[in-house]
Structure formats: C-alpha cells, structure tokens
C-alpha cells in the first residue's frame, strides 16, 4: 500500500505546479484534515462505530470495579478473591484479613477518590484557562496546597484531618487566584507563559516546604512521607475526611457543566449565551480548590494526574462537560488505581511512590502535547 502510494506521488509531483485550482484545494483539504486528525486530543471523533457516552461511562465504571478488586488482591502477597471476600464481609483475625481490610482497603478507596478529584479539577482548569496543558500541578495548585498543609501543621499546630483538608483547599484556592491574577494583570499571558508561572510557583512552594521540613525534624519523617505523594499506609479516617470535600467539589463541578460548555469558546460567546462569567468562574475556582485540596490532603501531591486525565476523557466522550466531567472522574479513578498497582511492582519488592509513576507518565504526555502543539 505504502509503496504504491509513494510511487503515485512521485509520478504526480512534477505536475503539481501546473495543477488546476480544484486540485490545489484538494491537497489543501487533505492537509487540513490531517492536521485535524493529528489534534484529535482536542476534537471529538464522530465515528459510527463508537459507543454512546452513557455506554462509555458504564464501561469505565466496570473497569474501575475490576481494577479496585485487583488493587485488593495484588501486591507483595497475592490473595485470592475468596480471601478478599472473607476479609471484607466475614472478618476474622487471620493475617490475610488484617492486611486486606486494614492496609489494602484504604488504599483501594483512596486511590480512585484522589484520581477522580484530580481528573475533575484538571478538566475544569483546562476549560477555565482554555489551555490544554493546564492542570493542578502545572498551575502550582498542588504545590500551594502542600505548602498550606505543612504551614498549618507546623506553624498553627492543626492536627485534625479535616482541618488539614480545609487548609489544603485554602492553599489551592489562594494559589489559583494568585496565578490567574498574575496572568490577568500582565494583560493576558499566553497559555504557555501561564504554565511557566505556575511551575515557578510550584517550585517556590516546594522550596519553602523543604525549609520547614528540614528545620522541624520531629515532624519531618511523617510529612516527608506524605509529601512524596503515595496511597500507602493511609488510615481509613483519612478517606472519610477527604470524602465530603470531593463530593462537594464534584457536585459543584457537575452543576457547572452547561456554563462550562459555553465558557469553552470565548468570553463574549459565553456572555451572549447569558452565562454570568464572574459567578461561574468563582464557583469553578472553589470547586477546583476543594477537589485539589482534598486530593493533596489525602495522598499528597500526586503529579500530573490532572494533566493527563482530561485528555483521555475528551478523547472518549467529546467536549460536552455533562459527559466529559463524569468521564474524567472515572478515568482519573481508574488511572490512579492502576498506577498504584504498578507502583507495587516496578521495583519489587520495594514499593515506589505512586507520584513518581504518574510523574513519568505525565511528563511523557506533556512532551507529546508540546510536540503536537496542543498548546
């Protein structure tokens, strides 16, 4: 096929100069269509064969259930499904029951919850900034939330988990306002520059966190572990502390689905459709802060989940937020759970921090997006 095609091209190329106008149009069209398919991360595909969005959500939910089950069974020791069933519903004092219910269950819940929160936050942020490489990490929100948690626990002696979650949400909110404020005050920075500003903020908060950690050795161990971004050894209470924040954020996000659709184009279009811009933006920032804050307080900064997941969701269900947001939540949940399972095996028998796994995948995706000039 390829050889024939190239031969044909060779045969026709000398005539290309003298071709008629319709022929040039044809080549231009072909070229145009190629670029469109190249950037299909942005454009929804409309195939006859594709599943409808509800069906896709159903499939994603099924995949999520399977991967959560896998997260319960796979690890340093591999348990059978029957052992998992026994541990969860007929608990005894056996070793397998203790490990499954006490160690595996919290992380099997915390991983999808964190992933869903970051996926939702990433989707909203990418729409708000009209920037396909925006995410809670690249805009510095993760870093701000982490800094707020460290500040709250060291300087203000906040101990309760929900207090720390609230601090993380506040940190993310402040950082998002600062980054977007800086971008707006500079008279509309390019999407790339906004990301550079965000990354710089992230490295700044990272450095400050490091100063706090090294100067408070008592809390260093505990906080350093949390800061690496991992789902290991989290108590069940942490899941329960984060859950209301994620739920509230998700409800706010889904409520904004229609205005976000309008906001996707540009401000004047959204306004002419009757969308109250500043109100929608305010609520959206709040939702992003709640979701990012909950994710960071549960698992620490898990890198680049919010960057990768929205692209997958858009690819699957298209641009309508009513479908895109639930798809992003499910994709994020599946992604984080699978990354958590992978983290147990990449350097077996030692466990890698899940944040490192997602960072490698995320950096690869970022390179891909940059090469395709998606932003």
């Amino acid at each position: 096929m390829d050889i024939v095609g190239s031969l044909n091209l060779d045969k026709y190329s000398p005539k290309l100069d003298g071709c008629t106008k319709s022929e040039t149009n044809l080549t231009v069209n072909i070229h145009f269509r190629q670029t469109v398919t190249l950037s299909n991360a942005v454009m929804p595909r409309r195939d006859a064969r594709r599943l409808s969005p509800p069906a896709i959500l159903g499939v994603l939910a099924a995949i999520l259930l399977v991967s959560m089950l896998a997260s319960l069974t796979l690890g340093y020791r591999i348990y059978g499904l029957d052992q998992v069933w026994m541990a969860l519903f007929v608990p005894d004092n056996s070793e397998s029951a203790t490990i499954i219910a006490g160690l595996r269950l919290p992380r099997a819940l915390i991983a999808p919850l964190t992933g869903a929160a970051l996926g939702l936050a990433g989707t909203i942020v990418q729409t708000l900034a009209r920037n396909r490489i925006a995410s809670p990490d690249t805009l510095g929100l993760n870093g701000g939330a982490a800094l707020a948690v460290v500040l709250a626990s060291i300087a203000f002696d906040v101990q309760s988990l929900s207090g720390l979650s609230a601090a993380a949400a506040l940190g993310a909110l402040v950082t998002s306002l600062v980054v977007f404020g800086v971008a707006a005050s500079a008279g509309g920075l390019s999407p790339l520059k906004i990301v550079l500003v965000g990354v710089t903020f992230a490295s700044l908060s990272h450095a400050i966190v490091e100063v706090f950690l090294t100067s408070n050795e008592a809390q260093l161990q505990q906080l350093l572990f949390w800061l690496s971004g991992a789902f290991v050894d989290r108590p069940m209470s942490q899941v329960l502390a984060g859950l209301p924040f994620v739920a509230l954020g998700a409800v706010l996000a889904l409520g904004l689905a229609r205005p976000l659709d309008a906001l996707q184009a540009d401000d004047s279009t959204a306004q002419s459709l009757g969308v109250p811009l500043s109100l929608v933006r305010g609520i959206a920032f709040l939702a992003v802060a709640l979701l990012t804050g909950a994710a960071v307080s549960m698992a620490g900064p898990v890198a680049f989940v919010g960057l990768v997941v929205p692209h997958a969701a858009r690819h699957l269900v298209g641009l309508r937020h009513a479908w895109q947001l639930p798809a992003a939540a499910l994709c994020g949940a599946v992604y984080a759970t699978l990354a958590d399972i992978a983290a147990r095996f990449v350097i077996y028998p030692v466990e890698a921090p899940v944040g490192a796994i997602t960072a490698i995948v995320g950096a690869f995706v970022l390179l891909l997006l940059l090469r395709r000039r998606a932003a």
Binding site: G187, L192, K193
Partner: protein
C-alpha cells in the same frame, strides 16, 4: 534589556576591569567571612593566618576540616553552574534558559543516583572509585540536554516552548531519581536533601579534589569556546554568516555546559536558579563583554552559593537547611519577574 545604556556604551574597557576587580575583592571577603562565621566566630585575620599555614591547633581543625570544605565546595559548584547558565543563555539567545529549567540539573542528579544504585555492593560501599561519579553525572546531564533539544526540534527557537520541554524532561528525571533512590542502598536516601535541593554541608576534601580536577578541562574548554558564543542580539543566520554559531560549536557549547553542571551536581546537588541569575547580574555589571562577563558570572555564582550557605548557617543554626532551597526561594520570584516583563514577547 534592562540596561540598554550599559550594553550600548562604547569602549568601557577600564570600567569593566575595575568592576571585575571589585567583584573579586568582594568574593575573597565573602570567602573569609564564610570561614569565620559559625558556632564560634573566628576573626578574619586569624582565618587568613590559618590559610597561610599558621594559627592555633583548634582553630586550624575547625577551619580546615569543617568550614573550609563547605566554602570551597560552594565556590566551585556555584561558579561552575553559573558558567553553565551563561553558556546556555548565550548559545540559545534565551535569557530565561538555565541548567535547572532545561533539565540538565535533574539529568545529572539521575546519573549520580543511577551510578550509586548500580555500583554499590550489599554493604552500601561503592565498588568503583568515587572519582567516576562526575562522569555518571555528565552522562546524565548530556542525555537530558540532548533529549530536550531533539524533542523540541524547531520549536527550540521559541524561548518559552524550549523551557516547557526542559521542564517536562526535568519532571521525568526527578521522578526516576526518586525511584532509584529507593532501589539503591538506604544511606543514599538519607543524603536525599542533596539530590533534591542541593547542599554543601557534607562535602569532604576528596570530593572537592575531584571537582577541582574535573573543572580544569571544563574551564579550558569554556575559555576556548568563548569566542564562538554569538552576541545575544544576533539571529541564527547572521551569526552563521560571520562564522559564529556553527553547529559543531553549538554542540560543543551544550556539551561544555552539561559538563560544568554535572561537576557541580555530582557532589553538591541541584542548586537552583544560580545558573539563571548569575549571568544576568554579570551582564548588569560588565555589559556584554565575553571574557569579563564569564569571569564575573563565575565569581557571582560562587558568591551566591557561598552567601546562601553562610546565611543558612547564621539563620537556622544548628539545623542544616539545604542551601539550594534558599537560592530557589530567592530565584523563583526573579524568574517570575523575567517572565512577566512585557517587552519580551517570546510566546
């Protein structure tokens, strides 16, 4: 350009060398102060006698085995990374470029951590001489910068895009570093601060010797290549037209910058933002002259890291905060300032 007057001023040769002399004098003073300050204050005249071979025994012990090593390490590493930043900014004609943001620092750190993980036995001792460590760092640094430029391709001409490619490579290298720190022996993780932030407090004389020996060829190469660095305001085509910016020299300059970064990172770790700021300060001080610019850049870089280390010893004593965190905290706002300036329309 913030200082068009300086940059455009004709024939300022004498002024330039006077400034260089002043910077050098400040550098010596800061070095002596860096040795003098600490848990006990040793007056500068006593520091000078000790360095010249005299002095009391306790003083000699404190100075020669505790304070001088970290001052010397800060000096060498700061100077090397600043010079690398100078070369990168000139060759890419991008004032936002630096070894940190182009992924070179994290690539070098990954090289070191890999080296330690591969060449250690069960008792956590290296099975090959530690002198090979800079080579591992250099390979990592070269790999990172090559990846950044291969992947960015023609997009490298946009300052901002090039930086984003660098940031992506840096993120991947950092994640791999975290993983390999866990694979390697435990004692490396206790040194994690070095690889995460950059610290000069645990460097010993043997390591400083290796750094100094490796620096000699790197500096010679830098001096030889100085003539081939294009002026910042020349575009690619004109630079090639007058015989500058030939691909071979470009590659050599990149390799040289990677080597300098690797020497700094291999024993001190990633000292953020010095490679960005020092060349800017040097340009403010001496304009665009090459030789004076390079010398002042190296001196300013060395002073920045020595100063950061000194400040940390005074402010946080007895806790050892990594010096790299301080340079990052000071450097990040400056980077933001550079980004926000409106006259630079690099989108």
């Amino acid at each position: 350009m913030t200082m068009p007057t300086l940059a455009l001023a004709p024939r300022r040769m004498p002024g330039r060398w006077t400034i260089l002399a002043i910077v050098a004098a400040l550098f010596v003073l800061l070095g002596l102060a860096g040795i003098g300050f600490g848990s006990t204050w040793i007056p500068l005249d006593r520091v000078a006698t000790i360095l010249l071979g005299g002095g009391e025994r306790t003083d000699r012990l404190i100075v020669l085995s505790l304070r001088l090593p970290r001052v010397a390490a800060a000096m060498l590493a700061g100077g090397a990374i600043a010079l690398a930043g100078y070369q990168l900014q000139r060759i890419t004609r991008n004032e936002l470029a630096s070894p940190g943001v182009l992924g070179v620092v994290d690539g070098a750190a990954l090289g070191v951590v890999l080296f330690m993980a591969i060449f250690s036995d069960e008792s956590n001792a290296l099975v090959v001489p530690v002198a090979w460590q800079p080579l591992a760092a250099a390979l990592g640094a070269l790999g990172a910068i090559a990846l950044v430029f291969i992947l960015s391709g023609r997009q490298a001409s946009s300052a901002i895009r090039l930086l984003l490619f660098g940031i992506a490579i840096a993120a991947a290298a950092k994640a791999l570093t975290t993983i390999f720190m866990l694979v390697g022996p435990i004692y490396q993780a206790s040194q994690a601060a070095r690889w995460l932030a950059g610290a000069v407090n645990e460097v010993n004389w043997g390591e400083i010797q290796i750094m100094a020996i490796c620096l000699v060829p790197a500096l010679l190469l830098a001096a030889l290549l100085a003539r081939h660095l294009p002026p910042a305001d020349l575009d690619d085509v004109s630079a090639q037209g007058i015989g500058l910016n030939v691909p071979v020299y470009r590659i050599l300059v990149f390799a040289n910058a990677a080597l300098l970064t690797a020497i700094a990172v291999s024993f001190v770790g990633g000292v953020g933002f010095i490679g960005l700021i020092a060349p800017h300060l040097a340009r403010l001080l001496v304009g665009r002259a090459r030789l004076a610019g390079m010398l002042v850049t190296a001196l300013v870089g060395a002073m920045m890291l020595m100063g950061a280390d000194l400040l940390i010893r005074v402010a946080f004593s007895p806790i050892e905060v990594p010096a790299g965190t301080l340079t990052a905290i000071l450097g990040a706002p400056y980077f933001l300032f550079l980004l926000m300036r409106k006259d630079k329309a690099n989108g």
